[in-house]
Amino acid sequence: MSRPARPTRRAAAPLALVALAALGLSACTDKADASANASGGAGGPITVQADDTTCALSATTAKAGTVTFDITNAGTKVNEFYVYAAGDRIVSEVENITPGLKRQLKVEITEPGTFQTACKPGMVGDGIRGDFTVTGTAVAGSADQKVAKAISDYRAFVATESDKLLAGTQEFVAAVKAGDVAKAKQLYPTARLPWETIEPVAESFGDLDPRIDGREGDNPTFSGYHRLEKDLWVSGLQKDSGQVADTLLADVKQIVTKSKGVTPTALTIANGAKALLDEVATGKITGEEERYSHTDLWDFRGNLQGSQSALETLRPVVTERDAALQKALDSRFAELNQLLESHRVDGRFVSYTTLTDADLKALTVSLDALSEEVSKVPAVVETK
């Protein structure tokens, strides 16, 4: 992202080391977690007798662990059964219990506390509520170590990409200063590629992001990559192009040092992965980012790879908590990667201007599909 000062929650939250909260409540539906012990912590399934006006539970307490509800709809309306935590947050639910039908819901409740249950005859409204108490001691989440590993893996990824960014920028800057326009143009998109992979991290450092990546009109002083882009593709090298290049390199060095010091959380990694795809949707697929060079597909590639790599570090966590989501992510990333790679000729991405409306639509369709899945990851890795 290169637009100036758009405050985001992401930017507002410092990427500081956050003590990892124990896995609080992990929801699992009746379909998942077939291996869970059906008797759960409460010593046996809790029966729920529901009709159009009542919601009778055989027990309103259970021990922490997997709690099983057997719900029977004896009414005339389609019913639903919910378990809520404080703040009306749904821990789990089972939908579409048609009259006469019996359904089972297994809920993993790892921490004791007060919850609510609800039947919703006719599917709407607040439902017929009742308090539900979970006793006993907290069941430790099994994902703490996986989350810690994800963070360390992501830090390693950022460090590697930062080094590539520095090396690529050094080479690019040297070409600009040598007045070698052809070489500089050749190097420009690949030098930026690592920047695009770690953008959520890089852009968190105040005014360095706009200085490095701001587009014309975004800042009072137009500098950085895109100023050089304009010089190379449109206006020709200017008297101060060398100076702009030196400043860019100095700024990139700072970013590299700072980026390596960042310690994200699982949530910031996941949100960053989503933010990268949002970048593609709002800046790259529209051809806005590289308005002079039309090398947008390289940035697209960088954002996509950055998103995928970030989520790769979270793979063990996501797989454990929502295997179906991980599967969907893998399939959607593969689809979009394949589509994007189809726009390479001789190893280099084609100019944005050569893409047809049909090409852009296909990319957008695939990106929408991927983005919807990626948007589900933050809540999966951060359940508090």
Binding site: K120, V365, S371
Partner: protein, 447 residues
């Protein structure tokens, strides 16, 4: 029509369905009683096969409409023998979307239809698209429901699905299940069809008395479909252009003429069976459509500015009715019989030979009738200072080859109205029968 039944409170556009303190969820309690049984759906009149006057019968019992606001807020049953949104009393607003299926995986398509059915069932009941969709996912999840309809009543929302001819091209193993009646429409003289406003593998028609509720429904279904389907084109509509029952005043279209003086009436079960619902023996190889109906959509741009400079006499001659009353030329009242033999004082036919009502009349079309459910639209301006406005024609029928096609052929060849309109979008869809609780849209097709 000689007797005008008592008028229920007129749903006025100035009085939207706002009932202070009645929330979307609480409203549901009255849904069963407030659903207007037996009131007619359908658009008609202009662009329509006119019906011989006098043959319309009204069923007084069907006109016991509930009071205005509550009726506009009420929920309409999702499940039933037929899909809602066809003979349901026409709501005031429309959001229609045609989609392409982008997956190659039949199972993925079926899974989406199941997900869609559940979400549509919830939304028509006035609920969020998914349980706890507004905030129940917690602070770190993108909410499962987009939220703009939360707190609004059900607003008479209906969601209707249709399958386009292109869905049966073999990608999903449906080639041998394509009904013969689901033929691509032929090219009609004067068509200026735009690909970006035509066709589609699927369509979703969402109608409601509150535009926000209709848009919410389409938005959430499209979102659920990302990766499986992609929106191809869409159309917003306002102002139903249909006479939905004999108890309602006939609405006017963007040309200022009454539209829908005659239509297939929902309480006329015989006419519905004859003209709207697919019967079990219609097509042996497409038994899955029994109880369904075919939907034809046409985006009809009206050259508003040209029309507005046209003399009243020319306007009335083109339509074949007078503008104020809606009476057939030569007649006095809206529902007077159309007398095609009648001469004007100058010896010419009172209803000109190329008048819209003459060409569209069932007596000139071997008894062909449709159930119309169109909407006015205005999509801003066209860049040269003219309104991009017109009629989004939607009609339901038993067989487009026998009904819409001959009618449109007759109109396209001769209708004086053609000077003032242009068809720039077109699509046809097979709308499967309704669902029972637990079933999904098109279950019979994919069985």
């Amino acid at each position: 029509m000689t007797a005008t039944p008592p008028q229920p409170p007129e749903p006025s556009s100035e009085a939207p369905a706002e009932v202070p303190g009645v929330s979307r969820r609480r409203l549901l309690g009255v849904s069963g009683t407030a659903a207007v049984a037996g009131v007619v759906a359908g658009a008609g009149g202009l662009w329509a096969a006119e019906r011989a006057s006098g043959s319309t019968t009204s069923d007084a019992g069907a006109l016991a409409a509930p009071s205005g606001a509550a009726a506009l807020d009420a929920a309409i049953d999702f499940n039933g023998e037929h899909q809602a949104g066809i003979v349901t009393p026409a709501q005031d607003r429309l959001h229609f979307v045609a989609l392409d299926v982008v997956t190659k995986d039949r199972a993925e398509l079926v899974a989406l239809l199941k997900t869609w059915t559940r979400a549509a069932e919830r939304m028509t009941a006035g609920a969020e698209a998914a349980p706890g969709g507004l905030v129940g996912g917690g602070p770190f999840a993108a909410p499962e429901d987009t939220g703009e309809a939360y707190g609004l009543p059900a607003s008479g929302l209906t969601v209707t699905i249709g399958f386009g001819p292109s869905l049966f091209d073999g990608r999903f193993g449906l080639a041998d299940r394509r009904p013969a009646a689901l033929a691509d429409l032929p090219a009609f003289p004067g068509d200026q069809l735009e690909a970006a406003r035509s066709g589609g593998d699927l369509c979703i028609q969402a109608c409601a008395n509150d535009p926000q509720v209709a848009v919410h429904a389409v938005r959430n279904l499209v979102r659920l479909g990302f990766g499986t389907v992609s929106a191809r084109w869409s159309q917003l509509g306002f102002g139903r252009t249909s006479s939905t029952s004999t108890s309602q005043a006939t609405p006017r279209n963007m040309f200022g003429f009454k539209d829908g003086t005659a239509n297939v009436k929902a309480e006329d079960t015989e006419a519905l069976a004859q003209h709207v619902w697919v019967a079990s023996d219609d097509d042996a190889s497409a038994g899955w459509m029994t109880g369904g109906s075919y939907l034809v959509a046409r985006r009809i741009r009206m050259h508003i500015e040209v029309w507005d400079r046209t003399s009243l006499q020319e306007q009335e001659d083109v339509i074949g009715r007078d503008k104020k009353e809606g009476a057939p030329l030569g007649g006095a009242k809206e529902f007077d019989a159309l007398d095609f033999a009648r001469k004007a004082p100058d010896g010419q036919p009172a209803i000109p030979m190329n008048a819209h009502v003459r060409l569209a009349h069932e007596s000139n079309l071997k008894g062909v009738r449709l159930l119309r459910r169109g909407y006015n639209f205005t999509d801003g301006t066209d860049g040269v200072g003219h309104l991009d406005a017109g009629l989004f024609f939607v009609a339901f029928m038993r067989d487009p080859r026998r009904q819409f096609v001959p009618m449109q052929q007759a109109l396209a060849e001769k209708d004086g109205l053609n000077e003032y309109i242009e068809h720039n979008g077109s699509a046809v869809f097979a709308c499967p029968p309704g669902t029972q609780p637990g079933q999904f849209w098109g279950q019979q097709l994919f069985a």
